[in-house]
């Protein structure tokens, strides 16, 4: 093989590189959390990398903020091929108008094929406006993405009723395909120290924010969260032994205190604290059942819980059939130790 052939191949490669540079690509809008790149952004770059490898495209990250240029290194390490940085004192804290204007200018020129944002407060504010202005489709809170390689269409899964089941949707006609990525749903990519790059600095003059911050709302009292919408619930039953310990556990976890029909009959809880199909139906993230047998009416009212811990002395208690963690012990023996472990 003579050198001229290699020259030819390299020239062709350069040509195709320039073509790809002109448009398309998978873009990730970076999010900041306490002065660092937010974990959800790294997860989004990981997802973008997988999509881009199948598409034969590049992954670009856009980073907007104040004093953030050095953070571009992390974006390269996590898998970005190119990074654009807009570094300006007026870009922090996040405000919609200046960030949106810069991103729109950039995307108008770059014509991305796919845009990923984290489903954070900032990402959720930006994504619909970006999609609307660019005429693209938007799927929010994606928990997984796959690619139809023949049509270059991204299919995204998002939870319905908080994860009861999932809907799969796609944006077949228009571009860009905008997605917000649910934090924690994608694996965080390996940070490769040998991946390096020089970020492109965007010359920006941020516009003034349209929504003004007036300071803390000091006299605002948020409404109490009703038991039916609680994220954390500690429920006690008649086998709980010392009910004060159950109350202490609820306090330690900053959880809502509840109970079953038996606890209500025994006068340990109020009617609006009774988890039962005849009382309140709940679907918290965490449900701790202490000394509670778990009859049909109780279990039906709380089986929507994501994670259930049950503590009960009887190994045949029905609550153990639906619990994720089963502790067969006397609650009054376990609870004091558990309270210490949580402190």
């Amino acid at each position: 093989m003579d050198a001229s052939y290699l020259d030819l191949v390299m020239a062709q490669q350069e040509e195709s590189f320039e073509e790809a540079e002109g448009g398309g690509g998978v873009w990730v809008v970076a999010d900041l959390l306490e002065g660092q790149i937010a974990p959800v952004t790294l997860e989004a770059i990981g997802a973008a990398r997988t999509l881009a490898d199948s598409l034969g495209a590049y992954v670009y990250a856009v980073l907007l903020g104040n004093d953030v240029t050095t953070l571009a290194e992390t974006l390269y390490q996590s898998g970005a091929d190119g990074v654009r940085v807009a570094d300006h004192a007026r870009l922090a804290p996040f405000a919609l108008a200046p960030h949106l204007a810069i991103l729109l200018d950039l995307f108008e020129e770059e014509e991305p094929e796919v845009v990923l944002l984290g489903a954070s407060d900032a990402g959720q504010e930006l994504a619909p406006r970006l999609a609307q202005r660019m005429g693209g489709g938007l799927i929010e809170h994606a928990t997984s993405v796959t690619l139809d390689e023949s049509t270059r269409v991204v299919q995204a899964t998002f939870p319905i009723y908080g994860g009861d089941y999932f809907e799969i949707a796609a944006c077949p006609e228009v571009r860009p395909q905008v997605l917000t990525i649910e934090p924690g749903a994608f694996a965080s990519p390996y940070l490769d120290e040998y991946r390096k790059g020089e970020p492109t600095i965007l010359d920006v003059e941020p516009v003034e924010p349209v929504v003004r911050r007036l300071g803390p709302a000091e006299d605002y009292e948020p409404p109490p969260v009703p038991l039916s919408e609680a994220k954390l619930i500690v429920a006690g039953g008649r086998q709980a032994g010392d009910f004060v310990l159950v109350e202490k556990l609820a306090q330690a976890l900053d959880a809502h205190l509840a109970g079953d029909r038996g606890a209500w009959d025994a006068g340990l809880i109020e009617a609006e604290q009774m988890v039962d199909v005849r009382g309140v139906t709940v679907a918290p993230d965490v449900y701790v059942a202490v000394g509670l047998r778990g009859d049909t009416f109780h279990n039906a009212a709380m089986e929507g819980a994501t994670f259930i811990v049950a503590i009960h002395p009887d190994p045949h208690a029905p609550i153990f059939e639906i619990a994720d963690q089963c502790v067969e012990a006397q609650p009054e023996e376990v609870l004091p130790v558990l309270l210490e472990a949580l402190a």
Binding site: E125, P128, E140, P223, C326
Partner: protein
């Protein structure tokens, strides 16, 4: 002041079962409720009406027939309801609905404030209100816990992490109310009876607008297509935690801490 509230409906989750093993969705009781966050947004609008004598218009923001939702909105105290209908609107997604609502707002004229919920109970999508804000070129306040509007300004309380911040912007604006921020009032009994009989002072309150008159066929084609459905894996019997009390407590505490962080 004229306030437009977007009211959507949602299948009551108490009537459906997502069967993980059969990977099927069973609708045992097809009953609809107002999207809770939209319901709260209507309450916010009615509180502004109580304080400033604003006019409150409710409009449907989704494709299926939901005039029941709008009738309940009028019974709660809204002055007017616009029910977007038509075969062409049946396949509408949020982008199409936003375009239709933009057209509604332009035809109504003098709308100062658009209110809707910051999220939906079922899909969790928040794009309708924000797409509308972008189409209109209006500022937005997302996830407001309480709002006040008069003199060409709107002030809202928003949550930043654990703290609450007061923000302000000029009208016209779009405000998305946080779910659970306000407890909606009960419908007025007499209005409720009258609106279902089309009688009394609410006889003409519900107007039907054909979406095909508002948008071109091109604008009515949705951007997002549904591909399928997926179900989480079947729930397995839980792990038995064994050991001394201290070991058990440590395992449980670790699991709880991990879950609470997520």
């Amino acid at each position: 002041m004229r306030i437009l509230v977007i009211l959507r409906r949602v299948l009551d989750p108490a009537g459906i079962v997502a069967h993980r093993r059969l990977r099927r969705l069973f609708i045992n009781r097809e009953e609809y409720i107002i999207q809770p966050a939209d319901h709260g947004a209507l309450e916010a609008a009615l509180r502004i009406k109580d304080a400033t004598a604003a006019e409150v218009v409710v409009a449907s923001g989704q494709s299926e027939p939901d005039d029941d939702t709008l009738r309940r909105g009028i019974a709660m105290g809204a002055d007017r309801a616009i029910y977007l209908s038509g075969d062409a609107f049946k396949s509408a997604d949020d982008a199409v609905a936003a375009r239709a609502l933009q057209e509604v707002i332009e035809r109504l004229g003098d709308v100062d404030l658009v209110l809707c919920g910051a999220t939906t109970l079922d899909t969790g999508q928040a794009q309708l209100g924000l797409r509308l804000a972008e189409a209109l070129g209006w500022p937005q306040i997302v996830g407001a816990w309480s709002i006040e509007a008069d003199d060409g300004r709107v002030q809202g309380v928003r949550r930043d992490g654990v703290r609450y911040t007061l923000v302000e912007t000029d009208l016209p604006a779009v405000v998305l109310m946080a779910a659970g921020a306000l407890k909606p009032r009960y419908p007025n009994g007499i209005r409720l009876i009258n609106i279902y009989r089309d009688e009394g002072d609410v006889a003409d309150a519900l107007e039907q607008w054909d979406a095909a008159d508002l948008l071109t066929p091109d604008e009515l084609s949705p951007l997002i297509a549904s591909v399928g459905r997926d179900f989480p894996p079947e729930r397995e019997r839980g792990e038995r935690v064994e050991g001394t009390n201290a070991e058990v407590a440590e395992t449980v505490a670790q699991a709880l801490r991990q879950r609470m962080r997520g």
